[in-house]
Symmetry: C2
Subunit: 238 residues, 2 copies
Amino acid sequence: MEKKHVGQHISHKFNEEIEDIRNKVLIMGGLVEQQTIDAVEAVVTGNIELAENVVQSDKTVNALEQEIDEDCMLIIAKRQPAAFDLRLLIGISKTITELERTGDQATRIAEMAFKLEDNNRDLSDYRELKHLSELVRHILHDALDAFARLDVENSVEILTRDKEIDQEYVSVFRQLTLSMMEDSRNIKRALNIMSVIRSLERIGDHACNVCDYVIYAVKGADVRHMPEDEIKKTVLGT
Amino acid sequence: MEKKHVGQHISHKFNEEIEDIRNKVLIMGGLVEQQTIDAVEAVVTGNIELAENVVQSDKTVNALEQEIDEDCMLIIAKRQPAAFDLRLLIGISKTITELERTGDQATRIAEMAFKLEDNNRDLSDYRELKHLSELVRHILHDALDAFARLDVENSVEILTRDKEIDQEYVSVFRQLTLSMMEDSRNIKRALNIMSVIRSLERIGDHACNVCDYVIYAVKGADVRHMPEDEIKKTVLGT
């Protein structure tokens, strides 16, 4: 899809500039994906070094956000793009805000690893995180993939998966609330894990927002506040 | 400040278009400010009708976000602005995302009013919310004011106030944790209030992000990840 659109430009240089920006977004996306995986791993295994890496990476993520935003501005000012190219550049500028905030949430999770290390580690391996973190890891990976391929169909499919994440979040939250009520010694642990699952749920939201921007760039349709069936009808005509 | 910049345009029509967009942003800002005030009021007083109003307003806020974004795209495509005008339009496009998410957080707070109504209401008047909600209400109001006037100095001052909000959040969170540990019958109430204070804290962040975009539009400086003293040096030269 992308090749066709981008290939329509007369200016070869312009194509290269847009490709450069897209590659930087993919590098940034790869970084926040790794941050997310490592942050959960750090919490589950108590690997403090890994948690420190996540916190350190955030500086690179922030710097990339600023660099890509500047690139987008320069190219808009210089090339005066319209239609698909302009939507893509604006979509990229909004996408990187989502990625930067994904990095922030991963950093919060990593910081929780330090906190859990201070308390006595329990032997549960934080099993409550297992399913939710898998769901979130996949949605983030697939959203970045949809961005890389400008894949509208997959973007629409990904949007439908947010419900599952929300349901799992509510289920784990309830479980943790019960454990608090059963024994007040569980309260601190449960509050810490609640903070982690909230960050995971937010990362799922950011991934969905990226898909919104892919659909917007390719189709010109703003589906941000549309119900699922309306999105399918508008975007896929089904 | 704004008058000088905008006045430099040759096209009177272009000025009008930009003013129209800015006015819409101010209307949207006024709406989310009212949502925030009403949502807290609904929680504190148990006024369910007010909570319903907040939830209802969210549709208008969402529609405004889409309308303003479309306006920005059209004007960029048609007028091919550069320098200040382009930064302002991109800044507006990012600002309204912050405002829309402020509206989402206010809606979450309002939804908590329904939940608290379901439980037995307590007689505490949710005093834990008092100071934090005042701080957040003021920072949001002042950020919108800074946007209206494109006031860089006030934007910088507002950014320094986020620390105070974070500190108050941590203090209330600790207080609520203690109340849970003292008596497990407090757990549900405390979890609900924790959700409210988290939303308030997030609204404070969104307000600060708006100030970042004001500084970016007027000064061309990207201060998003700068420490406070560096912002002052870069933006105010002090």
